[in-house]
């Protein structure tokens, strides 16, 4: 381990130190949220700064196990933003339920560490460890409201299935490792390239490994038919955490896909392409269809997040189909989705500030009258999720569809399925709008006071949602640089 290595992983270290700092602060001022939050924000700011500093030049460390490239930087910034927003949104929900903020922040920052590790790892083992480091805190967060039956139920379902899938994933990883004889991503790719070049059909062991790994990854990103945990875990979790869970682990899983499938298994792309197409179609369709019938907004958004996995997979499929734009679309979609979905969950969380308020549709009845600003913001996020311009969601959707159209062939049909799904999805998103603006409130619940943190976070999410839609050029530059870092397809 050289000093240069240490510099390279500085953001990671900073994140870990942030967690440690919060821990210390919590020990000094036990049970107080302000110092913990301060520590968290300072630490995350430092982390972000380091990400940007280190990310200014490409580098590898630890003998190629850890890579800093544009993709790493892009994803790291995204992850840090997600965590910052989640922490901004959380106190308003946690404090009335006397849930500690400090532990929440610590666990969340650990998850951040895992996600950042995935983004930077070019080593199979590190990828696995990063994945575990990302999801283990997720299990805990899902059960964070430990006196709540729903929260713990969601947590145990998430945990059991998550561990199951981790084991499956690991099994597949072992096979691939055993066949290629290396854990380094580039070496794996090179080995696979020779294997594929040598014998046209996929060797049985590799096929097995591919299937097992696909299952594991598909589970983490909540693709149908490996999505089952999602609705229950999302619904049960405390709402800000649901927001995080719907975004962080999902984008993290896609980061894993990028490093693992795109980079390491790139030579097998034509093998996993059909699977991705099928998964994408199934995921979009089932997610949207079931979401149509949900009365609980959180659960509905859980299914919606499944559907969004499908859309993102379209981007992946387009890449496998030969268009680097697919990766751009995937990354853009991930970022756009992160902000709009977090925003939507933040509004739900804000509504649930008063303990006992459910997330059923009825809660939203008359919101347009009671709290017009929140209702307008919610509408914006929902429109973005629907894909109505000029929002982030629209451009993201257009981008993945564009990529699919460029790839042509069966992917054109995938694009058609995607837009039909988007149209169907409009029904349930707009239903919330119906309740907010077109129904009278069920009771005369007064408007609630919301904290400055929440408003700040919402402002940020709103701004980003609009900016991504109106002026995507900057982001496009970033995502194309990021995808060029790993893509083997010329632009």
């Amino acid at each position: 381990m050289s000093f240069q290595d240490l510099v390279t992983i500085a953001p990671l270290v900073a994140a870990i130190l942030t967690a440690a700092a919060i821990l210390v602060v919590d020990l000094v001022w036990p049970g107080r949220s302000a110092p913990a939050l301060a520590a968290a924000f300072i630490g995350l700011a430092v982390t972000a700064a380091l990400v940007l500093t280190v990310g200014s030049t490409d580098a590898t460390a630890f003998g190629g196990a850890y890579t800093v490239d544009h993709l790493t930087t892009f994803l790291d910034v995204l992850f840090v933003s997600v965590i910052v927003l989640t922490i901004l949104f959380a106190p308003d929900y946690l404090l009335p339920r006397s849930l500690p903020v400090a532990e929440f922040a610590i666990v969340l920052v650990f998850a951040l560490t895992g996600a950042m590790l995935i983004a930077a790892s070019t080593d199979l083992l590190l990828l696995f460890l990063g994945l575990e480091l990302m999801v283990l805190p997720g299990y805990m967060l899902a059960g964070y409201h430990k006196t709540d039956a729903y929260s713990t139920e969601g947590a145990i379902k998430y945990f059991l299935l998550g561990s199951f899938s981790s084991a499956i994933f690991l099994f597949g990883l072992a096979f691939v490792w055993g066949l290629t004889g290396t854990t380094r991503v580039d070496a794996v790719a090179a080995a696979l390239a020779t294997i594929v070049a040598g014998q046209a059909p996929l060797s049985a062991g590799l096929a097995m490994g591919l299937a097992f790994m696909t299952t594991g990854v598909a589970f983490k990103m909540a693709a149908v038919p490996f999505h089952y945990w999602t609705p229950d875990a999302y619904q049960g979790s405390p709402t800000p955490i649901t927001g995080y869970l719907s975004v962080g682990p999902k984008v993290g899983a896609f980061a894993l896909v990028l490093r693992l499938f795109v980079e390491a298994l790139g030579p097998l792309a034509h093998w996993w392409l059909p699977v991705v197409i099928i998964l994408a179609a199934l995921t979009m369709t089932l997610g949207n269809l079931v979401a149509l019938t949900q009365d609980n907004v959180k659960r509905m958004l859980a299914y919606s997040s499944i559907a969004h996995t499908g859309y993102i997979l379209v981007g992946l499929a387009a890449y496998a189909g030969g268009r680097v734009e697919g990766l751009d679309g995937l990354l853009f979609y991930g970022a756009a989705y992160a902000f709009m979905n977090l925003g939507a969950f933040a509004v739900i969380a804000a509504l649930q500030k008063r303990a006992g308020v459910t997330s059923s549709l009825e809660t939203f009845a008359g919101l347009g009258r009671r709290e017009p600003l929140l209702a307008v913001l919610m509408t914006l996020f929902l429109l973005s999720l629907t894909g109505i311009p000029p929002t982030a969601g629209f451009f993201a959707k257009a981008y993945v569809i564009f990529a699919a159209v460029q790839a042509g062939g069966p992917l054109t049909w995938l694009a058609v399925i995607a837009v039909l799904n988007a149209a169907a999805a409009a029904f349930y998103y707009l239903r919330v709008v119906v309740y907010m603006f077109m129904r009278d409130p069920a009771d005369d619940a007064p408007a609630m006071q919301h904290g400055a943190l929440l408003w700040g976070g919402l402002a940020a999410a709103t701004t980003l949602t609009i900016l991504f839609g109106l002026f995507p050029t900057t982001i496009l530059g970033l995502v194309s640089a990021a995808s060029d870092a790993i893509s083997t397809i010329a632009r």
Binding site: A19, A65, E103, G130, L133, P137, G143, T147, L179
Partner: protein, 197 residues
């Protein structure tokens, strides 16, 4: 009392069978003692594994798991990875199994053993598992792993050098992972003052 006796007899029968296999292989088939040991350990591991997933009393399941992991540790030694075998014994038998047993004690309700052990879907699950095993076995046998015909023994020193050069980052990450798990685990398992008892 009769139950205990039956299980005891069952255990003895298993042991007898295992030893029998070993004897048969060594004596009558004239195979290498290592092979015999492999068979014995494999049989014990699989047998104990089956017991883990089928036995009614969860405490015994836990004990069977210890047996299973013990046999696995033996295989590790046999295969030339004694360090892993040792770790296996320490971590699994020494820590995890104990942890699990504690958890069993903590969550044990009196009526639990009397009720159904299996889900209603045990049948399909069994079929699926068999299919899975067959698939894996088929895939393995159909694959050219490029493996040596002989085991390679790895020196512990080589291992440590690898661990602290190429794999130093994973090593550190695992420590963070464990830290996170501990913090989370403590938080979750900690009894809240106001929470349900």
């Amino acid at each position: 009392m009769a139950r205990t006796l039956v299980s005891l007899l069952f255990g003895l029968a298993v042991m007898g069978a295992v030893l029998g296999i070993a004897v048969v292989m060594l004596v009558f088939l004239g195979q290498d003692w290592k092979d015999a040991l492999f068979w014995v350990l494999a049989a014990v591991m699989i047998g104990a594994g089956l017991l883990v997933v089928t036995m009614r009393d969860i405490i015994r399941c836990g004990l069977a798991m210890i047996v299973c992991f013990g046999a696995l540790a033996g295989i590790y030694v046999l295969i030339g990875a004694p360090l892993i075998g040792a770790t296996q014994v320490i971590v699994y038998i020494g820590a995890i199994s104990v942890l699990i047993l504690f958890a069993i004690m903590l969550t044990q309700t009196k009526d639990a053993p009397a009720r159904l052990v299996f889900q209603t879907q045990a049948g399909p699950a069994a079929i699926l598992s068999v299919v899975l095993a067959v698939l894996i076995a088929l895939a393995i046998s159909a694959t050219d792993w490029g493996a040596a015909t002989h085991r390679v023994r790895i020196a512990t020193s080589a291992l440590s050098s690898v661990l602290f050069s190429d794999f130093v980052l994973p090593f550190e990450v695992v420590s963070v992972l464990l830290l996170a798990a501990v913090i989370g685990g403590v938080f979750l398992a900690k009894r809240e003052p106001g929470g349900p008892s």
